[in-house]
Symmetry: C2
């Protein structure tokens, strides 16, 4: 939010657009590239289309880490250990609101770093980011023993309002209740919404000056002079983006780099891309700060330097290693509440790779391999959140290498490229956070947390009274009073409560996104996207499996209600067995499908901020533990307080027919409603996959191929023995880098709470396919 | 913008509206008042209706100043003298952004003050108000030799955006041009828009707690839960208003007063009302910070105390004197540019009085007299801007006293009560700034400066090329190329340029009001009005008389164009004489009417921010000098750079048929379009009015009655000999408090620039009626 000298100068009586210093010799930077539309307008996808270098071989070409990388990595790992010992946070600012230029350059060890740039002036030192909410920033500091500078308290309470204050100024009593009783949880009203994928390659391909020039042109083209609110809003946003681009140049200059022009070398290309990401994480502490999709892009620059003889494979790997190392070092300071929802300090530096183009060519390239190789060169780590855009047509060599990494480190998630490419109409998309596809050039998501479907089932039974809080939260309606629950009666009552959930949920989000735009606009990320954007209004569902099984129980199991002295249902008894979600039984699975569509349709009747398009997700991340803790006993037999199953996973223990049947159930959830993603966290023991690595790889490849052919959307793959996890819980010192995939991201097992470790241990690890 | 603990508490599982501490014994405060609707809902007008105390006598009951008042006034006058000697500003904050509670209590001499409260901690010390624009705040300080604290520069550039930055982020090149070449001037994009009349009596009648309670109820009633942008906006605004009300209590408490409850005495009533005004001027440096209409209201409290024997008339006068003294002390620090437009440091503490009710009762009361008496008790002064809502039915005693004050001090303006009361549909309205009526309970104006109609005439002739800047500013159209101007040809071209002016003007204002609401919302004033408001979108016209006479010359005078080497018209010669506006000649006057309607209709085709209702004004304040300076020679013979006539006044020298003919011309401007006001600054020599005070009063009363009967809207009355002004210019020391009315406000003659003094001297002072 710096003062901008806009691009217009009044001079000699004429209004002249100041000639931006676009380097006229740009073609010099672009030597060796195939030309195309991308030269005329900002179009990274076209550049990739024209210059893609497919790789069909195996991993044998890869190089190990350089000494510099290893030295740096050891330093970072030592700092990470110190951080863990310090209770989670090593150091934190308390009096410098983070901006692009609030900090001078920071280094791990300057001379060894090929890729430079830290969020603050010291490694792992966390920045002070009050714009999402000063109270949260203060609470976060306090949680780790720091005090906020009193001047900051004054500034961000008296003079500069923050997002969180804005939201709470407009919430209705219903929204406060829904939030308090956790029928809607995790709303981004107290933290950054994140989920924006900047088109980072733009910086390397065009240089900042060209991007500014285009933004100035866009600014001129917003509206025909008629200043409606929406025209004003977009004009101001673009003006803020121009300031952000200028700030980025200044930030890079402090590290000695001139990013006003395109990158000349592979090193510069990686560095320029990283500066774009650094700009994002210096200014926003969004829940998910995605990196996007850069493998095919960077590969073109790397190959050019290799071809010119400027670098070796070892140099190339060093660039990628050190880039990834920087991604591993990103930190935010967060409140205890937040950490309960999203454990293990994740930031979702989601890095999407591979995939197949609209023209049928796969996009696997050597740099896709190089990124996977970082896990070997520097050890397993939760970040970046490596995401493979999977298609049956990906080359075998890559498929096998990927599954090998999964087996070794359980750090990869797999997502259905064909499903997403067709839904979103482009092959230049990336994953934001865990499972949310986003066109990189012109798509943005308004992140929306999730509603508790299992609790809604209980509200239907209890007439809107919260079973844990014993308070009227949902609409006051007639509860079910009969001894046994009648399915038709239940569904009518459920509909009424779900109407209310949809209403309160969507409208709370309307308030949130209005205020986020007003008080915490993400100019530093959006400046790297088109000016005209398609917005997705994300929402989410938690407790789907428990709601499904509960309704199945009501429908097929003749469920008797046990009530407390207040008449609140506290336990259930099913007289008969009933079908459960996770067994490829349509009787149950169709209930899950119905629930997703029903909530979607109800939400879609409402006003959606910024005319965004509604989407939903079935994804809980680690919040399944917190959701479960706040939800009473459900008719499917899940006891009060017990964790939900994560994401779209079947309830623990419900799956009785092996891995494949479970996967087939999940694959039935209709992606066309849940375009924000359907997460499946899959666990299997190594032995189940095969007796040796080779056959384990075969099984995994076949399983992922099969899942995706059946329109399964996403798989977190964990390959463990439960005993390993139990041992790691008992002896953490033996497993400092043991990484597990939870619902949509990775985490060091050691960074989870005891409660969450227990949850991970109790998850299903299939022992039969 | 303080953190608010909203009114909702979640407790025991239920959402409870916290019982605000509304004093249950309110009836105690209201003892002696007639009851009515006003007790059930916030309704000051109804309170006045039920309790109005008309006064039909003369001024003989009035008391002189107390010793305390005189001592305090002498101190203030000495400070004012010091301030003038210091170049205009005595002292200024540079590191404390002004809020309700940013300063501890300030006094002139505490023990003598019956009414307390200063904007800062010291008399005449000016506050630092960056929200309208940090650059302006800094420039203003610099203009008087102060430096802004660098930390403030950082905060309000890096962390907290201001109104001015927002506006310039969205302006189009056309808007920048229109502004730069001064076809549109004085836009509130670099200063507070002002023009909001808070319903100050609410505090005294109800106390702050009751007002908070009502606002919380209103907050609950905004929207049915569907969070559209407009619902969110209003909910947030009301939340900000609640914070402002709480801040006001805190501010008053620092002076030892508890305004949470209603006023118990006359002294408290005046003090509570003043605290409301103080809240406004502590937080907003709007161009016009109006006081509203408080005479009938305060009179009821004063009379109650007089009747109870608690106070004497001298005590009553002391309260009003000291209240008015405080209004005279309000100061803002402003830039040189601003002072050029609005000379003499005005703040428009416009205080409207008298008027007639919807039921036919006049509202003149003893306190209306007491306010006029302050001019005698403490000497003439420009503030407050005393405005009489004139109706033929006002009692004679008051009419004569008012004209006497006009003759003595030239400090009063007269406005047509019947015209405004009927237009706005209420008798509880006040004047904002100079001539802008505003329903006090539920009306708000978006202030809009003015467009230069005379320059638009020249753009039509020159094909949109600015005659002073020699640049294409208006739409590039065929200029008039013939030797003589053809009227029909001219009108077609004029239409095209006026279309453009209307478009750019209205849309610049759309941007301005959007950003003012976003970055500088007037919560401290709007918290004292209804939550649901009617907004007026104000605009204005300058140079009306010159445009009118120029078009009349073109139509009737056979005008020849003299062009420079670039083909720009630089002079005009009319072959024949032609009718001029200001002589009650319909041929010219109808052109003036046509111009007002034409611009209004063209502006009304556009989107208007917040669905406000369009209004326009014919009012220039002192900016007629600056407008003239930037406008070339016009076809009516006015030379390039010469001042325009102010407001709706005829061109100097054009009026040849005496005062009444001039007034009749002005009265023809249709108020239904120019509901923002039509200003007429009238000058007459004492001798012209009569040979003695009595006959001078008679003449003035008859003149004002006659003007208003003819639908004249407004009159500034100056009674001078031109020689007095010339003498005052030559010997300022002889006339330290000589006050003149300029277009819509008063100013100490000594505070005007030489240029503006010359303009005032050269105005018409009628020597024949």
């Amino acid at each position: 939010m710096k003062t901008v000298t806009l691009m217009f100068d009044i001079k000699g009586g004429n209004l002249i657009m100041k000639q931006l210093q676009a380097d006229k010799t740009t073609n010099g930077y672009w030597a060796g590239f195939n030309g195309g539309d991308w030269q005329e307008s900002i179009d990274v996808r076209d550049f990739i289309q024209q210059n893609l270098i497919q790789y069909d071989g195996d991993e044998s070409f890869l190089a190990g880490p350089t000494e510099a990388t290893t030295t740096l990595n050891n330093k970072v790992m030592a700092l990470k250990q110190k951080e863990r010992e310090a209770g989670g946070v090593l150091d934190a600012d308390n009096n410098v609101p983070a901006t692009l230029t609030s900090h001078g350059p920071g280094y791990i060890e300057k001379d060894l770093e090929k890729i430079v740039g830290l969020q603050t002036d010291k490694p792992l030192k966390r920045a002070f980011m009050p714009y999402g909410g000063i109270r949260m920033a203060e609470d976060a500091l306090k949680a780790y023993g720091f005090e906020t500078d009193p001047k900051m308290h004054e500034i961000f309470n008296e003079w500069r309002k923050t997002h969180n204050q804005g939201v709470f100024d407009v919430y209705t009593p219903d929204m406060r209740k829904a939030r308090h009783y956790k029928i809607i949880t995790g709303l981004p009203d107290a933290y950054g919404r994140g989920r924006i994928i900047p088109d980072l390659p733009r910086i390397a391909l065009y240089g900042i000056d060209r991007l500014i020039e285009e933004k100035v042109t866009d600014h001129g083209n917003v509206g025909d002079g008629e200043m409606t609110d929406s025209v004003i809003k977009l004009r101001e946003q673009i003006a803020e983006q121009v300031k952000a681009l200028k700030g980025m140049k200044e930030m890079a200059a402090s590290y000695g780099y001139d990013i006003s022009r395109p990158a000349k070398t592979a090193q510069e290309a990686v560095q320029w891309v990283y500066f774009g990401y650094l700009a994002a994480v210096k200014t926003q502490n969004g829940a998910a700060m995605s990196v996007g999709r850069i493998d095919a892009f960077l590969d073109i620059f790397i190959q050019r330097d290799l071809d010119r003889g400027l670098i070796t494979e070892t140099d190339a790997q060093e660039l990628i290693d050190q880039f990834v190392m920087k991604l591993r070092m990103v930190r935010f300071i967060r409140t205890t509440d937040y950490n309960d929802l999203f454990s293990g300090d994740p930031i979702w530096a989601t890095l999407s790779m591979a995939g197949v183009g609209m023209d049928g060519r796969h996009h696997v390239n050597k740099t896709s391999f190089r990124v996977l190789k970082t896990l070997e060169n520097m050890g397993a780590a939760p970040e970046p959140n490596i995401t493979l855009l999977w298609d049956k047509r990906l080359p075998d060599g890559f498929k096998r290498y990927a599954t090998k990494v999964s087996i070794d480190s359980s750090t990869i998630q797999y997502e259905n490229d064909a499903l997403m490419r067709n839904q979103w109409g482009t092959d230049y998309y990336g994953i934001a956070c865990c499972v949310s596809a986003q066109p990189i050039a012109d798509g943005v998501q308004f992140f929306g947390a999730r509603a508790n479907m299992a609790k809604t089932v209980l509200y239907a039974i209890n007439g809107g009274i919260d079973e844990m809080g014993n308070a009227q939260v949902g609409p006051a309606a007639e509860p079910i009073k009969s001894e046994y629950i009648d399915y038709d009666d239940f569904m009518k009552k459920f509909d009424r409560q779900l109407d209310w959930v949809a209403d309160v949920y969507v409208n709370a989000l309307n308030a949130i996104h209005y205020m986020h735009d007003k008080y915490d606009y993400e100019a530093e990320q959006l400046c790297l996207k088109n000016s005209r954007l398609d917005y997705t209004f994300a929402t989410g569902i938690s407790g789907l499996s428990h709601a499904t099984d509960s309704i199945s129980a009501i429908k097929y199991g003749h469920v008797k209600v046990i009530r407390d002295e207040n008449g609140i249902a506290v336990d259930f008894k099913a007289d008969h067995d009933y079908p459960r979600y996770g067994n490829n039984d349509d009787r149950a699975d169709s209930i899950a499908k119905m629930l997703v569509k029903k909530l979607y349709d109800k939400m879609n009747t409402h006003h959606l901020y910024h005319n965004a398009k509604l989407s939903t997700s079935v994804l809980t991340i680690t919040s399944n533990v917190v959701y479960g803790k706040n939800t009473g006993t459900t008719p499917n037999g899940r006891q009060a307080g017990e964790p939900f199953s994560p994401g779209a996973n079947p309830a623990y223990g419900a799956e009785q027919n092996g891995a494949l049947a479970s996967l087939l159930s999940t694959a039935k959830i209709p992606y066309k409603y849940a375009t924000d993603g359907i997460s499946n966290t899959f666990g299997v023991t190594p032995r189940t996959l095969g007796n040796d690595t080779n056959s384990q790889q075969d099984t995994l490849v076949n399983m992922v191929d099969g899942y995706m052919e059946n329109k399964g959307m996403h798989l977190n793959i964990n390959v463990f023995n439960r005993d390993t996890l139990k041992d790691a819980q008992a002896h953490p010192e033996k497993y400092p880098t043991l990484t597990v995939r939870v619902s949509g991201y990775c985490v060091y097992f050691a960074d989870l709470t005891k409660e969450q470790q227990d949850d991970v241990i109790s998850r299903t690890y299939f022992e039969a396919m």
